[in-house]
């Protein structure tokens, strides 16, 4: 009975001081998030009518802008959380003024890749990283694509690996790690990972989250800094650099790629996932995802900074990184899952390898089964790559 009682209207009075029970909060979130769950059909009465009402009334599939229709009590919980986030935002913004200038002062002559205006958006959401059904849910589910992508491409280069810890012995740099969403899976697979992010709050969240798991504590290190700041001390030390959902936020892509090149070992891999600059990505990625459906928080992306795969390939190739794979990714907002696709006009992933200094190797075939034809087509799209190979 102690589970179902809070759901009955009127039984809750006030919000402060009442101990929050994990399963009632869990239950309320379940009421509000539809998705693809198969209902056993044998739910309890007390939840029944309210659950149906909530499901019918919630229009979007994954509730990111949570509507308070469902339950007064849970709304109070959420308002408490929003209040907390506002306090953090204000605290950060006041510190931002001091932070903004040191970057340009310290590196007056060299260019920084960190866009200080981008920082603001991420600071406000710093504590929401690890909520799997929250604002960062699409990034959580993107792990189903990007972790195998990174893992399989890295394993191709090794003769044999330890079962259970396939990436052990590898050093990986996760640039723009945010709350550590991608850093932690890589750490669990055995790699030693350094995660860097310019937003202090993100690093704090990431540190806090990994502190509970002794295995991850040992394998992952977080630093609040930008890529340029660590280039000198970490030159040629990483087997892989991961820049996932990052390059659409940097100011100077050329410098960024050069820094990535410098920190990679010879034969090391660079993994990038980002958004293409097309009309479709404007319509779906900005207008629909941010403004209409609220899948992505408003102001996260600026269309001008999106990078097309062709532009990315040319920058990579001209900086000594040979592109092995470019693959499109598609997000289904109804199911909340990502899929690989031949179409790169929205999101895409790229894998490039730092050349050994000799003839760059012929790009390997597509990793995933059944898609070999598309990749060969992709190679032919980029004539500059082919010309380089002929030389």
């Amino acid at each position: 009975e102690w589970v179902s009682e809070p759901f009955c209207w009127g039984s809750f009075a006030g919000g402060t001081g009442k101990e929050v029970d994990p399963f009632t909060v869990w239950g309320a979130r379940k009421l509000s998030s539809c998705g693809n769950r198969f209902v056993g059909g044998l739910r309890s009465r007390c939840w029944g009518t309210q659950a149906e009402g909530a499901r019918l009334s919630s229009s979007a599939e994954n509730q990111f802008s949570w509507t308070p229709q469902t339950n007064l009590w849970v709304f109070s919980e959420y308002s408490m959380m929003w209040f907390k986030s506002y306090r953090i935002t204000f605290a950060c913004l006041s510190r931002m003024k001091i932070y903004r200038y040191p970057w340009t002062r310290l590196y007056g002559t060299s260019q920084t890749t960190v866009d200080s205006t981008e920082i603001k958006t991420f600071v406000a959401l710093a504590h929401r990283w690890w909520d799997e059904q929250g604002v960062y849910a699409p990034l959580h589910s993107m792990n189903d694509l990007r972790v195998p992508f990174i893992r399989d491409n890295l394993l191709k280069a090794v003769a044999h690996h330890q079962p259970g810890k396939p990436l052990s012995g590898m050093k990986i740099l996760d640039v723009g790690c945010g709350g550590g969403l991608l850093t932690e899976p890589l750490g669990r697979l055995g790699a030693s990972v350094i995660g860097i992010d310019p937003v202090d709050e993100n690093i704090k969240t990431a540190q806090h989250h990994k502190s509970f798991d002794p295995v991850l504590e040992k394998r992952i290190e977080y630093r609040a800094c930008s890529l340029e700041e660590i280039v000198e001390e970490t030159a040629e030390t990483f087997d892989a650099v991961v820049a996932s959902e990052v390059i659409e936020h940097v100011i100077d892509l050329e410098t960024f790629i050069q820094c990535c090149y410098q920190v990679l070992k010879c034969g090391g891999s660079l993994f990038i996932t980002t958004i293409n600059k097309t009309q479709l990505s404007y319509a779906l990625g900005i207008v629909f995802a941010e403004q209409i459906a609220g899948i992505v928080p408003k102001g996260t992306h600026t269309w001008e900074k999106f990078v097309s795969p062709e532009k990315l390939e040319s920058i990579l190739e001209s900086n000594g990184l040979s592109v092995h794979t470019v693959a499109g990714m598609l997000y289904n907002p109804f199911s909340g899952y990502w899929h690989w696709s031949e179409n790169t006009s929205l999101n895409y992933a790229a894998h490039a390898v730092k050349s050994m200094g000799q003839e760059p190797p012929v790009p390997a075939g597509f990793v995933f089964t059944g898609k070999t034809e598309e990749l060969h087509d992709k190679d032919s799209i980029n004539p500059s790559v082919q010309e380089e190979l002929k030389k």
């Binding site: 102690w2 929050v20 994990p22 056993g40 739910r43 690890w130 959580h140 330890q162 669990r188």
Partner: protein
């Protein structure tokens, strides 16, 4: 057992990747499967069992009275971590045909695999436990087993990080020690403590029936590779082959009759069993007429195969002290998963033994959950994350709900002597018997 206080300390507790609560057939199989899974090579798994550790010596001559019908799908699971080989080295009985018929009419259905594959295997529960325990010991570097440990309290994590609260499940054992885990798997039977502590709603009712089990000696040695089941109005009686001369009895009947059966002397018991299988006292003229009507229609349309009713072997003796009874009921948990929690086996679903599916559904849960967890581990995912746990839930709820509903329907349909229902089921059974593709579908579904 209910515990919902926040846990904000004790980081010194051992942190396990998976804790399986309950060391029965399904729980032990789960721990075994995870222990032998390649992607779990560096993970720590714990199995909690309230009972004492059983020391196995030589296999006893007498057969145990608790047996299970293992489907080919379950056999595949058991062989995937090497337990099936141990079972083959001990003893089991394969059966190739199954005859199910009504006591109130001539209707029968015969399941027969043309390609002479085994339809299923009758294995004693003790034999299965021995095989599982052996394989568990082989994986002892990854799987720890704590005997005589009963969990008395659970503390659940919040679904998202909140302040300083621990994100893991905390379990308090009877001796006061605590441990933490990233995923708790509840395999503690139909009165699951884990399920109750999590507050998961459970739809359940008890059938007004008890099952009587016994080990029977047949009058003469036969090939004995057929499973027999007859639906009496009081409940189904089944004879499952154990060896050339032995069979296991499972008779579900009313509580009073069950108590009577267990109490009566051996000769009377043997006579009762034989007449339950052989006597046509419950036939009525109406049902006979209706039955033969449809049968001739079927024979006209499809004159290829006419299954005549065969009689099961007659029973001569019953093993002393092998008669036991246990109550029956149905149960189904509304949710199989919560963040960092999954239910498998009888904790998630409890079924009537008439279809021989109880432990097979449990093994099916194990297969599905191991598959999902293995893929999650290979993707570096947090093992307690709902994204793959809901995949397991959807997978199994679809299969189990259908089977549970069908079994319950059959039980109710065959519990009556009322003429219209008898007619309905007579025709239904005969029609199903005539349609081979339908029978093949049924076998395929039950073999998973």
């Amino acid at each position: 057992l209910l515990s919902c206080r926040r846990w904000s300390g004790a980081k010194a507790d051992t942190l396990y990747d998976v804790v399986v609560s309950g060391g029965g057939l399904v729980g032990t199989a789960m721990a075994c499967a995870l222990g032998h899974d390649i992607h779990f090579s560096d993970k720590k798994i714990l199995l909690l069992e309230a009972g004492p550790k059983k020391v196995w010596e030589k296999l006893p001559e007498t057969y145990s009275n608790r047996v299970s019908s293992i489907s080919p799908g379950s056999a595949t699971l058991l062989s995937s971590f090497g337990a099936w080989d141990h079972i083959c080295n001990m003893r089991y009985r394969a059966f190739r045909r199954m005859q199910v018929w009504d006591a109130c009419s001539e209707a029968l259905i015969m399941f027969d695999k043309d390609n002479l594959d085994d339809m299923g295997y009758i294995v004693e529960n003790d034999v299965i436990m021995r095989a599982l325990t052996k394989q568990l010991e082989a994986a002892s570097d990854r799987v720890t087993v704590l005997y005589r440990s009963r969990a008395v309290g659970y503390t659940w994590p919040y679904p998202f990080t909140m302040a300083d609260s621990s994100p893991w499940v905390h379990i308090t054992l009877g001796d006061g020690s605590t441990l933490q885990t990233k995923l708790l798997i509840g395999a503690d039977g139909h009165n699951s403590g884990v399920r109750q502590a999590a507050g998961i709603q459970n739809v359940s009712w008890s059938y007004d029936q008890s099952a009587v089990v016994a080990t029977l000696h047949l009058s003469e040695a036969t090939e004995n590779n057929v499973a027999w089941q007859r639906f009496l109005p009081s409940g189904p009686i089944a004879l499952l082959p154990l060896s050339d001369t032995l069979s296991s009895l499972v008779w579900s009947t009313s509580h009073e009759h069950a108590a009577e059966l267990v109490g009566m002397d051996e000769e009377k018991f043997v006579d009762t069993v034989n007449s339950a299988f052989w006597s046509d006292a419950n036939h009525t003229d109406l049902s006979d007429a209706a039955g033969s009507l449809l049968q001739s229609a079927v024979g006209f349309l499809k004159p290829t195969k006419v299954s005549a009713r065969q009689m099961p072997p007659s029973v001569a003796r019953v093993d002393a002290k092998s008669r036991v009874l246990f109550p029956l009921g149905l149960g189904h948990a509304a949710e199989y998963v919560r963040p960092r929690l999954a239910l498998i086996g009888d904790a998630a679903h409890r079924v009537h033994p008439l279809a021989g599916q109880g432990v097979n559904m449990g093994f099916g849960d194990v297969s599905s959950l191991v598959r999902h967890l293995s893929a999650a581990a290979f993707n570096g995912k947090d093992l307690g994350s709902m994204s793959h746990l809901t995949g397991y839930e959807t997978d199994r709820q679809r299969h189990n709900t259908a089977l549970l509903a069908a079994t319950d329907l059959l039980k109710r349909l065959y519990s009556t002597r009322a003429a219209p229902l008898v007619l309905l089921r007579t025709w239904g059974l005969q029609a199903t018997n005539a349609v081979s593709p339908l029978k093949e579908q049924i076998i395929a579904f039950a073999s998973k």
